[in-house]
Symmetry: C2
DNA sequence: TAGTTTGGAGAATATCATTCTCGGGAGTGG
DNA sequence: CCACTCCCGAGAATGATATTCTCCAAACTA
């Protein structure tokens, strides 16, 4: 979220003048669209906005929009990636408070789960929503969007392996992939709705850590 | 998949005549739409069809369609539920070949995983595709669609628990929910695309069964 | 047979995403 | 200072779909 419309107009113009190159202005415009979309999502508490809404809110034009993005899906992808990067950073920060690899991983799992849940106070809002949509429509691009999170989990798992804490036959990358997928989708409403009590982060961790067989 | 258009016309009319009540005919019409949609999905190998296409193929009318279904999403839901029921049956049948509860569960997990994968020879076709869409748009209704599968897994897990094979603190229902979610979404392309080798059913089972911690 | 229900055909509408067309303003070279 | 050009806003046009509506005939009921 950049400063956006709160800044005094002269300042904006000054910035505009100083950062003159086309590329930079393009970047600024992209960001404006992203911010606009963010705002709308937060306000409506839902991820289904129209391109028009975004354009209006952004104070830019439809034409601009389609100059910056190949289509709506690219905006979604960008939003998703932004969200993932933020989440990764937050999770990484949280893991730094632990020193045991297992504990680090536990923190990561539980936090990821909480961040993916249909949020009570829509902060980084329901981002799994379009996550799932994009998962189907643009799986390839999703790979790169996920990559920072994927990297983080792989790293944590490697650390665990080096500390002899990982099952012998387990490959960090492959486990990371399975774990992330599981956590993010267990966080989805449906599954919870079948049960009297929603599934807790603790439970998810137990599931990932120890599986189910005695 | 009912007999549908392959049946000789006279037979259909005979049936039509004998099963006269409005309710029954409505049911038949619903089925026609479902079959039509199925066919299209199989043919195109993709799940994005238009209502028009379905209507044309069904030889019924648009009006009829909207009399039977509240909207496209209800058709999707119905298709999804049909698919889930079929899958459940298939899985249940497969588990009956095993006698150890663990083995039964293993078979169930692996088969579910395979059935949810972006199919090579689109039989019960890519049903996770709209599964994920609906998961977001109509989570409540999805509950009932899932229920047969959920029931099956719960049952298998209860059996495992009774044989002392389940972790002590694990509740069959809650585990069933987490497992299903995990398996079905690990089967989604994205995760696999990050890795050199796709994830195998065996790996998924290991993950669910034993978790990751040594 | 007259009335009622059912359902077909397909036109009309609504909602979006995406593309297109125009015109004005800002910078640039002469 | 004057064209000239490029960037971009405004918003109309297009296209694809879902959904609704209107008209009408066939089937069924009493």
């Amino acid at each position: 979220m950049t400063a956006g419309t709160e800044e005094p107009a002269w300042k904006q113009r000054a910035v505009e003048r100083s950062l003159r190159t086309a590329k930079e202005r393009a970047g600024q415009r992209v960001q404006k669209f992203l911010d606009a979309a963010q705002e709308i999502i937060v306000e409506k508490g839902s991820t289904d906005f129209t391109v028009q809404e975004v354009v209006e809110r952004s104070k830019l034009s439809l034409r601009s929009f389609y100059l910056q993005f190949d289509g709506k899906h690219e905006l979604l992808l960008a939003l998703f990636e932004e969200a993932v990067v933020r989440m990764s950073a937050q999770i990484r920060a949280a893991t730094d408070n632990e020193d045991q690899p297992v504990e680090q991983l536990k923190v990561a799992v539980e936090l990821l789960y909480e961040l993916c849940q249909p949020d009570p106070v829509a902060r980084r809002p329901l981002f799994t929503e379009f996550g799932t949509q994009l998962l189907i429509s643009h799986p390839i691009e999703m790979r790169t969007a996920y990559s920072s999170l994927f990297g983080l989990f792989t790293e944590l798992l490697e650390r665990l392996r080096d500390a002899q804490g990982l099952r012998d036959d387990a490959d960090p990358q492959r486990i990371a992939s399975m774990m992330m997928q599981s956590i993010m989708f267990i966080a989805q409403p449906t599954s919870a709705d079948m049960l009297p009590e929603p599934i807790s982060a603790e439970e998810v961790w137990e599931f990932c850590a120890h599986g189910i067989v005695r």
